[in-house]
Amino acid sequence: MEQPKTIFEKDKPGRRCFDVPEARGPRIEDMIPAKLMRTGDADLPRLSEPEVARHYTRLSRKNFGVDSHFYPLGSCTMKYNPKVNETVAALEGFTGLHPYIHAECAQGVLEVIYDLERVLGEIAGFDAVTLQPAAGAHGEFTGLLIIKAFLDDAGEDRDVVLIPDSAHGTNPASCTLAGFTTRGIKSDERGLVDLKDLEANLDGKVAAIMLTNPNTLGLFEENVVRIAAMMHENGSLLYMDGANMNAILGLARPGDFGVDVMHFNLHKTFSTPHGGGGPGSGPVGVKARLAPFLPMPRVLKDGKSFKIAARADKSIGRVRSFFGNVGVMLKAYTYIQRLGPKGLRRVAENAVLNANYVMESLKEHYDLPYGKRCMHECVFSAKSLARKHGIRALDVAKRLIDLGFHPPTIYFPLIVEEALMIEPTETENLETMDEFVSAMRTIAEEASKSPEKLHAAPATTPVGRLDEVKAVKEPCLAFPSGGRIT
């Protein structure tokens, strides 16, 4: 194998990819003072178009994606995303539209925004929805600010948010950003919110609890109605992290079971390819009493036409510029229309069916700390392998790569030792799951018979396990100018 070559090492003087017409008219020097100008061209690589195309094409071949590999990365809902979504989002009538164009000239996209808000509200049981947030965490932040504004408006001084110990890291981080302090709530032996601990933590400072449901163990918080009642009784609100909505689409509506505020992970549940980490979209749904606090701008319907409202009295203000990640909304809207209400329910049914099938098929081979039945994902532990054979979740993950699978999420949720969090999603078929199950069983066997194989994995990738300590100790975060890394 050869060392990878960065694009900067492919630079050569005189190479050119792209032509730009000559600028005519006054000279730049006469427009802008010299001291505000660069002295030389930006230090970007010079390549020809064939080199650019081959560089990125080859890099892509070093990457796993859902279209090339099974990708059961728990909590991330790596479902297959229909190709028609891409066709729609690439329509020039949408991509070529400036966000400040007069609303008269943007009626199509405003209708999409307006309608998608209502559709999401209907799916999850909320009275109002904002599509502004750019991702799930951004939605959490927005939702928390709404809660804070609502409580402030009601004259309530509450600055504590309760976070179950199984929660995703964005939940506490969003609380901090929103100015809350957090209190952890323990999970009980079944992996659900410990009601006693919750009870014990309820007081006049508590603004809300952030409940993930189904939670990150893949379990439905069956006491959710009770929890809602406890919160409401305490004058607090129930926030739900809706990242796992895929499990209950069409089967349960959070707004109906007591949730006051919820963010969606539009890119997960409603099918935008994850783009190597984004863009996402994190709409927030709220009950009517919280609607006045939604961020700006809002799209309103005025007779048959749509207009934009930039300000509202009680709004928390702006959480970003413009209208949100419209391209992602288009995909979600397309997806929802394609499936319809029954299709969405079927998504949930199959997501849960698949996860349970994988869980059943592997429970003899890996530790299953919680639950007999799961929702959209199942969380195993490699702790016996670790104890008996020194094989950790990480080793299992790396070996899976060699066997042709993207590994599950590992070491999350934190309350599971050596966690292996598997979310097959509804778009995988039985054959693929059987192949995955058989690979996982092989690995469990190898753990005792040939552990060295697991420690040496992955062996089929362009690089072996990388030295993460060195990455921090001798940081190289940008290719050195003019240089070649040795």
Partner: protein, 450 residues
């Protein structure tokens, strides 16, 4: 119904393995009172053909293609090379997620590493993260970084009022419940008022934020602002236009400590405002305090170079409530588009594009400025957009122009009540002389009788 993966026999087999008789049984964990029965009142199901027809008709109900886009204000109609569209559609890129497993994600990781390098070089900084949500939140994150990296001891954050008002609004929202005070530095003649800044400066100022080009399109000299900031011990956050950086002096050379901005122009379509991406570059010392993913180069046991997510202890999945930010999913694919864009244009292409924007914008300013009753609102040197003062209500004129296929704005009265007769106007490299002439003609006619 699409997405039927399972044959009835497969479902049977799976249920048997699980030990239940119907799929419905799997939902026994949901108490009855949580269950929703009936169908949601939403559209669909539709076939691909039908849904595509509907979405095409909605796309056609937008009229952005039926005219010339002179709109500005943080989003611009730059040309997107075909390489960007086609290479970003490689399935291994766009259907992957955050590269948590580096060995299976070297492609994406290397792209991010290269993106970081390009952004650092463009801005004249040491490091960059792998993208944030957008320009507005990037400013907010930069300010929070400046504040936290100085141990949260200095409460005041000074923001030039020549920064995009939506960015300032976002910054305010982000810091609503933090122990900081956002103060705006007044503007004079469309640029940050230096005198006012010196008056405001003080030891309790964590950072000063200014933009160049600023919201009014003017290329501000950041050096004096940097001096003012640094001399009271504050950091300078510069906002920048990455296309402009093809020819403009990088903020890193003018004393910026953190550089943030909106990256849309780099290969991302306007798309009614998103998805785009925010970039954030910094001096090296901020590596542990900036938010977002960072990719580093390292090696494996055999000495093979490779790329990993690094400095993860900053991030929410490790540090939870103590993280530098809550960001998790970012705008990765938009950043990838930016990388392909910059690789395609190269130093020469980017400079020429910037030059061409400037040339077109100045031509536009000449032509529009010569319409009776119309003038440029400010005298400062501008890059690709400028504020135009009209002989009447700008909102009315903008609507009339848009009906003629000349899309201009935003209207400045939207944010500055005393500027109801002003609008922003931008010209990118895509605008032709014919379009500029049409604009002038339309403007002349539409303002003749106001």
């Amino acid at each position: 119904m699409p997405y039927v993966q399972h044959s009835p026999a497969d479902v049977e087999k799976m249920l048997k393995t699980i030990g239940v008789s119907r799929i419905e049984d799997l939902f026994a964990q949901l108490p009855r009172e949580t269950r929703f029965s009936g169908d949601a009142r939403i559209p669909g199901p539709m076939s691909d053909m039908e849904v595509l027809a509907r979405m095409k008709s909605l796309a056609a109900a937008n009229r952005g293609l039926q005219g010339a886009c002179f709109l500005g204000g943080g989003c611009y109609d730059h040309f997107v090379p075909s390489t960007v569209d086609q290479l970003s559609m490689r399935a291994e890129f766009y259907t992957a997620y955050t590269p948590y497993q580096p060995e299976a994600s070297q492609g994406m990781l290397q792209v991010f590493f290269e993106y970081q390098t390009m952004i650092a070089r463009l801005t004249g900084m040491d490091i960059s993260n792998a993208s944030l949500y957008d320009g507005a939140s990037a400013l907010a994150e930069a300010a929070i970084t400046a504040w936290t990296s100085q141990k949260r001891k200095k409460r005041r954050i000074l923001v030039s009022s020549t920064i995009h008002p939506e960015y300032i609004a976002t910054l305010k929202t982000y810091t609503t419940h933090q122990d900081v005070l956002i103060e705006t530095i007044p503007a004079a003649g469309g640029v940050t008022d230096a005198a006012a800044l010196s008056r405001l400066a003080g030891p309790d100022v964590a950072c000063v934020a200014a933009a160049s080009p600023n919201f009014f399109g003017i290329v501000e000299d950041l050096e004096p602002i940097a001096q003012a900031a640094h001399s009271c011990g504050a950091l300078l956050i510069a906002l920048s236009d990455p296309i402009g950086l093809g020819m403009l002096r990088p903020p890193g050379e003018m004393g910026a400590d953190l550089v943030a901005g909106e990256g849309q122009g780099l290969g991302n379509y306007m798309s009614f405002g998103g998805p785009h991406f925010g970039f954030l570059a910094a001096r090296e010392e901020f590596v542990r305090s900036i938010p977002g993913r960072i990719v580093g180069m390292t090696e494996d046991a055999a000495g093979m170079k490779g790329f990993v997510l690094t400095f993860q202890t900053r991030e929410q999945h490790i540090r939870r409530e103590k993280a530098t930010s809550n960001i998790c999913s970012n705008q990765a694919l938009c950043a990838l588009r930016a990388a392909v864009y910059l690789a395609t244009l190269g130093p020469d292409g980017l400079r020429r594009t910037a030059n061409l924007c400037a040339a077109r914008a100045h031509r536009l300013a000449d032509r529009l400025g010569s319409v009776p009753g119309i003038s440029l609102a400010y005298k400062g040197p501008f890059f690709k957009e400028f504020a135009l003062k009209l002989p009447g209500d700008a909102a009315t004129i903008v609507r009339r122009l848009s009906r003629r296929g000349i899309f201009a704005g935003p209207v400045l009265g939207e944010w500055f009540p005393d500027m109801a007769d002003c609008m922003l106007v931008a010209a990118t490299e895509r605008r032709t002389n014919e379009e500029i002439d049409l604009f002038r003609e339309a403007l002349e006619e539409e303002t003749r009788h106001v």
